[in-house]
């Protein structure tokens, strides 16, 4: 992967391949600018690499047309962002229901499902609140619900705890672990935050766009 930079371009990822196992939380850690977010964007189909092949869960993302890529993201990926990115004028349940609604589920059905997921995350009483009526940790839990509601096979989280204090961060990670870890789902967490490393089943180190050699565990799924 290269990004344009001044007159030329810089290569930020070099032929990487990583295994993110189902039923586990895999952490991708490394210094700032090492390519973590870029890696995550490519794996989740939000960014198309300048060259090379991308295979995720058996699908060749680099060969997909835009519409297929969007469908891949909508059905197979759950996203958790650092800044939550909840829509301020929608309730927690409506926010969490968006992946289903976008995929054509009726709004009512979708919000009902989202409310159930919110309940699993301890937000049963907050489903009808607006994001600004919730604490940061609660908002991130709504974002987790949004990432889980459509039962995706891969959940990607970019710095999920960076905007939270230590305690809220731990709480969010505990809930993520409980709710997201499932035998047919992989969770990839990009983070700097060593206070949450203990939630990792496996930690991959990335530096200068290269993933440090590490032994494989579990049932691997490849991303090149």
């Amino acid at each position: 992967m290269e990004f344009p930079s001044g007159a030329g371009s810089i290569r930020v990822l070099h032929r990487v391949s990583l295994d993110v196992a189902y039923g586990a939380m895999t952490f991708l850690v490394g210094p700032s600018g090492s390519g973590k977010t870029t890696m995550l964007s490519i794996l989740s189909g939000t960014l198309s690499p300048t060259d090379g092949a991308v295979e995720v869960m058996g699908e060749r993302l680099d060969q997909m047309r835009d519409a297929e890529l969007v469908r891949f993201r909508r059905r197979r990926i759950g996203f958790i962002f650092q800044q939550y990115n909840l829509i301020g004028t929608l309730t927690a349940a409506e926010n969490a229901a968006i992946p289903l609604i976008a995929d054509g589920t009726k709004t009512e059905t979708a919000t009902r499902r989202a409310t159930d997921v919110l309940a699993q995350l301890g937000l049963a009483d907050h489903a009808w609140k607006l994001p600004r009526q919730l604490s940061g940790g609660q908002q991130q839990r709504v974002a987790i619900a949004r990432a889980l509601v459509h039962e995706p096979a891969l959940i990607v989280c970019d710095e999920p705890t960076a905007a939270l204090d230590a305690e809220a961060g731990q709480g969010v990670m505990r809930l993520l672990e409980d709710a997201a870890k499932s035998p047919d789902r992989a969770v990839l967490v990009v983070t700097h935050d060593d206070r949450i490393y203990r939630f990792a089943d496996r930690i991959l180190h990335i530096e200068d766009g290269r993933i440090a050699p590490d032994a494989d565990h579990g049932e691997p799924r490849h991303a090149h």
Partner: protein, 379 residues
């Protein structure tokens, strides 16, 4: 997704109301000004339309509209009567005069002299009473709608004496004339009375009003009259239209209304374009997140269009409602007479609002459509 989009917008009360009110105000400005403009134009036709019986108007070739007549010779009446196809021809005087009321106040008026026998030219409203009132010597019938310009204190004009061009007259009755563009108070007298109290240089026949014989079309008759008399003869429709054209071509009215209507359009464009652009910019990251999550560009386009159309529709409704209320509550005011909300104006404004909100929405959403969803991961 449309549900979600509308909730998204309505949750943002300030923008939602701002947009709806802005579009409402612009719609009001556009439709109200257009209605007034159309109303004023019809006033140009009213002097002609108020004489229902006349199918053809005969005049000096230099005349361009009813309120600026040129004197005809008395012979004109007889020459017109001799044209084949003329069922009747009546003299009609129309000219500016000065009326002094009993307390000495002066007012410029339009004096109309109607044929002594047929009284053709007296407005249809209140016809029988007015016809009766106008019979006496130097009796005048005054237009109720503009009488307050002569008697500002609200006094009942009927029964008052006054002077027109220094001749004593008595106001014996009222009628209701269509509002004219000139806007002067209108007084009616018998033709011979009107001629006799008008100074010699102007005491001449203004128009010959003509009815066609059964089976003769007014247009054919007008052509025949022109050919035989050398005068100008126009059908009722043509002459009414000439009154409208006169306003269009000789006053600043089209320009000033054009500016007001243009301002309405501009307000609509600026408010919707800016507010929608602001709404999009503020929600750019959220739209990015939606795109990452898998909302398609088509869905985003639908969302933003749906939002724009909803506020456009509400704002449009408010504006049209405002104009309708203005016209409804002004219906008895002579200075608003003849104003109505034509369906063409309603439809035209709907189209303008639709185009403006659609275009604004489209231009502001383009940024989102082109945006790379990966930006949501960037700080």
């Amino acid at each position: 997704m449309l549900n979600i989009a509308l909730k998204m917008l309505m949750g943002d009360r300030v923008k939602y109301l701002g947009l709806a009110l802005g579009i409402g105000f612009a719609t009001l400005l556009m439709t109200q000004q257009t209605s007034i403009f159309i109303g004023l134009l019809t006033w140009g036709a009213n002097p002609v339309l108020d004489v229902r019986e006349a199918q053809v108007w005969v005049m000096d070739p230099r005349v361009r509209q009813a309120d600026q007549p040129e004197a005809l010779s008395d012979q004109a009446l007889y020459r017109v009567r001799s044209v084949d196809g003329v069922a009747w021809a009546a003299p009609y005087f129309r000219g500016p005069s000065t009326l002094r009321s009993a307390d000495g106040a002066l007012a410029a008026v339009t004096l109309i002299g109607v044929d002594n026998q047929s009284l053709i030219g007296l407005p249809p409203a209140n016809r029988a009473e007015a016809a009766n009132a106008i019979r006496g010597r130097n009796a005048i019938v005054i237009d109720r709608g503009t009488a307050h310009l002569v008697f500002p204190d609200g006094r009942d004009p009927v029964g008052q004496t006054a002077e027109i061009n220094d001749n004593r007259v008595t106001i014996t009755g009222e009628t209701r004339a269509l509002t004219t563009f000139a806007g002067l108070p209108i007084v009616f007298m018998k033709y011979t009375d009107a001629i006799s109290i008008t100074p010699p240089e102007r005491n001449k026949l203004s128009f010959v009003l003509v009815g066609a014989r059964d089976g003769v079309s007014p247009a054919d008759l007008a052509a025949r009259i022109e050919a035989q008399t050398g005068l100008r003869a126009l059908t009722r429709d043509q002459f009414a239209r000439a009154g409208v054209d006169f306003i269009i071509n000789n006053t600043g009215i089209p320009l000033s209304f054009g500016i007001a209507i243009g301002l309405g359009v501009l307000v609509a464009v600026v408010i919707t374009a800016l507010t929608l652009a602001m709404f999009i910019t503020e929600n750019l990251k959220n739209f990015g997140a939606l795109k990452a999550i898998g909302v398609t560009n088509q869905q985003i386009l639908q969302m933003v269009m749906g939002q724009a159309w909803l506020v456009g529709f509400i704002g449009y409704g408010l504006g049209i409602g405002g104009t309708a209320a203005f016209i409804f509550f002004g219906r008895n005011d002579p200075s608003l007479q003849g104003f109505s909300l034509h369906w063409q104006v309603v439809a035209g404004a709907a189209l303008v609002v639709f185009v403006i909100v659609s275009a604004s929405a489209f231009f502001s959403v383009r940024r989102v459509l082109k945006m790379d969803p990966a930006i949501v991961f960037r700080g």
